[in-house]
């Protein structure tokens, strides 16, 4: 019989757990405590103020940005997975997309923002090319530092991430299911409605939440494109870098506590969806 607590495992697990506790949990708890004790005594005033005025705007903007880039990226990522599913040829396409997605889902940050500035910034190559065919990007009101500019740049890592999430689910659709459906008299539309899509929905929703979390926390790209954007990550920078009246630090803690709560809720929801998928997964 295996002992409940394995000594060797405990010996190597302790430093690891201490590490996570010291560098992740301690600071998190520390900021939670500060957020809940504005001015030294317990209270919710900071948490309340963190959702008012311009801070509220930042949350609304961040959520809108994350939801938009998650939904658009999610749909395109799903379509990409579905497009490649039934394609045998050209052979290289599938493996290239797989590898590229693994790479691109991790790209982001400073270089990505630069790439888009070079392409569709005011002095961008594509901006110029579009000018040749009579489309004036700047005149049309498009700007990389505005909402839709950020969305487009975020799609660069959101689409591949969704592709990575959906590929196993899409690949898991067995050919026999569509054959069984068609021999039972189902049209291919009916098969997708009744069988394939219900099977993809949990992964898709889980993927959307992951994309949401991913873009909510993104900092570097937004920082380069528009350091003054009213979104949560940049607001934190503003509060943290001392541009604040004394006493406003509590507000930064409160904003972060709300952010953590939001992300935690999203990830718990993913776990719930996964449990639902597990109901079908093993068959």
């Amino acid at each position: 019989m295996r002992r409940r607590f394995d000594t060797a495992t405990l010996v190597v697990a302790l430093p690891f757990l201490a590490f996570v506790g010291l560098f992740l949990l301690l600071p998190t708890v520390g900021l939670a405590v500060k957020a809940l004790t504005p001015g030294g005594s317990f209270g919710f005033s900071s948490l309340q103020r963190a959702l008012e005025g311009s801070y509220r705007t930042a949350f609304v903007n961040s959520i809108a940005l994350s939801v938009t880039s998650a939904v658009i990226g999610g749909v395109i990522g799903l379509l990409l997975a579905l497009s490649l599913r039934s394609m045998q040829r050209p052979r290289w396409l599938r493996s290239t997309t797989d590898s590229w997605s693994a790479v691109a889902s991790q790209l982001g940050g400073i270089p990505l923002a630069f790439a888009f500035i070079a392409a569709i910034g005011t002095q961008g190559l594509l901006t110029k090319l579009l000018g040749f065919v009579g489309v004036d990007l700047t005149e049309s009101g498009f700007s990389l530092s505005e909402f839709w500019g950020l969305v487009i740049v975020y799609l660069y890592f959101q689409i591949p991430l969704m592709f990575l999430v959906m590929m196993p689910a899409v690949g898991g659709l067995k050919k026999t299911w569509s054959e069984a459906a068609s021999i039972m008299g189902a049209s291919s539309g009916r098969y997708w409605r009744s069988v394939a899509l219900p099977l993809l929905v949990p992964s898709f929703l889980g993927g959307l939440l992951l994309l949401f979390v991913n873009s909510f926390a993104a900092y570097a790209t937004a920082y380069v494109l528009n350091p003054g954007a009213q979104i949560v990550p940049l607001l934190v920078r503003f509060l943290l870098q001392g541009n604040v009246i004394t006493g406003e630090e509590d507000l930064a803690y409160a904003i972060i506590l709300w952010t953590i709560t939001l992300l935690l809720a999203s990830l718990l929801l993913i776990a719930v969806l996964q449990r639902r998928t597990a109901k079908w997964a093993s068959s």
Binding site: T9, P27, Q106, Y223, I256
Partner: protein, 270 residues
């Protein structure tokens, strides 16, 4: 499948390909062609190409300092990841599988507390109690190890499972080997691919992380890049492209290392 669907699919794939390729192309042009985009005409397409800007960056002492720091952070992060995480992952898999779920949950925590959130907590806790800790750029290492966890743990875990670590362990146990010997002589040599993958994913993360370093005012490669581009747009762009390609190469090596052994890079958490 109907011809219409096929055509639509082809158009969709081409557009998507352009979306991913054009920014890189524009970046390369900006970085290596000294013709401003306003003056660019079809006749001038081949004029003024040079990589001297990039070469100059390499000579910049500030760049060298930042790159060296990033390199050191990278190596230290990988080492700590392997020393701290590999034994836990291996022992949980072979001797205490009941803790697998707990490990999976713990290693996902960094998704809940992203850099932009943790930096506030770190400032709140460490700045007053141990100010010397945050003075050194090496204080970034533990946090980089943490953010790589969702990826590094999953790579190691996939490796352990694909080699059937528990069976190997039991087989070696029957032959009388100690747990330590088994991990060092049997498990580790068999999961080189997963170890490479975990290492390069950590490396890629260190190479790209900006928020934490910037907010703690540390000069790493990404923070240098952001500053440098303001004064030297062309060379800055070249550097960013080089870093991007380097990151892509690093991740690609990791994906290959996993694929060669029949595993795949998983999106963490889903």
């Amino acid at each position: 499948m109907g011809i219409v669907v096929k055509v639509l699919r082809a158009i969709f794939l081409v557009l998507l390909g352009l979306f991913f390729f054009v920014p890189l192309l524009a970046m390369a042009r900006f970085a290596f062609q000294s013709v401003p985009v306003v003056l660019l005409t079809p006749e001038k397409l081949l004029e003024g190409w040079s990589i001297s800007g990039l070469i100059e960056v390499f000579g910049n002492p500030e760049f060298q300092r930042a790159a060296l720091i990033s390199l050191q952070l990278m190596v230290l992060s990988i080492l700590i990841t392997l020393v701290l995480l590999l034994p836990v992952a291996a022992l949980v898999e072979i001797r205490a599988p009941q803790f697998r779920t707990a490990m999976a949950a713990i290693t996902l925590l960094p998704w809940v507390v992203p850099p932009i959130a943790l930096v506030v907590g770190v400032a709140a806790t460490f700045r007053n109690t141990v100010p010397w800790f945050l003075a050194s750029p090496y204080s970034l290492v533990p946090f980089y190890v943490l953010w790589a966890l969702p990826f590094s743990y999953r790579a190691l875990d996939a490796g352990l499972r694909s080699i059937g670590a528990r069976t190997l362990y039991e087989a070696a146990r029957v032959m009388g080997a100690s747990t330590f010997t088994i991990i060092v002589r049997v498990i580790v040599p068999n999961m080189v691919g997963a170890i490479i993958a975990a290492s390069v994913l950590t490396a890629a993360l260190v190479l790209g992380e900006f928020a934490f370093a910037a907010l703690l005012l540390k000069e790493t490669l990404p923070t240098f890049m952001a500053e440098f581009q303001r004064s030297e747009p062309r060379a800055g762009m070249a550097l960013a492209l080089a870093v991007m390609l380097l990151t892509a190469l690093i991740i690609w090596i990791g994906v290959r290392a996993l694929r060669k052994r029949g595993m795949d890079l998983q999106a963490a958490g889903v």
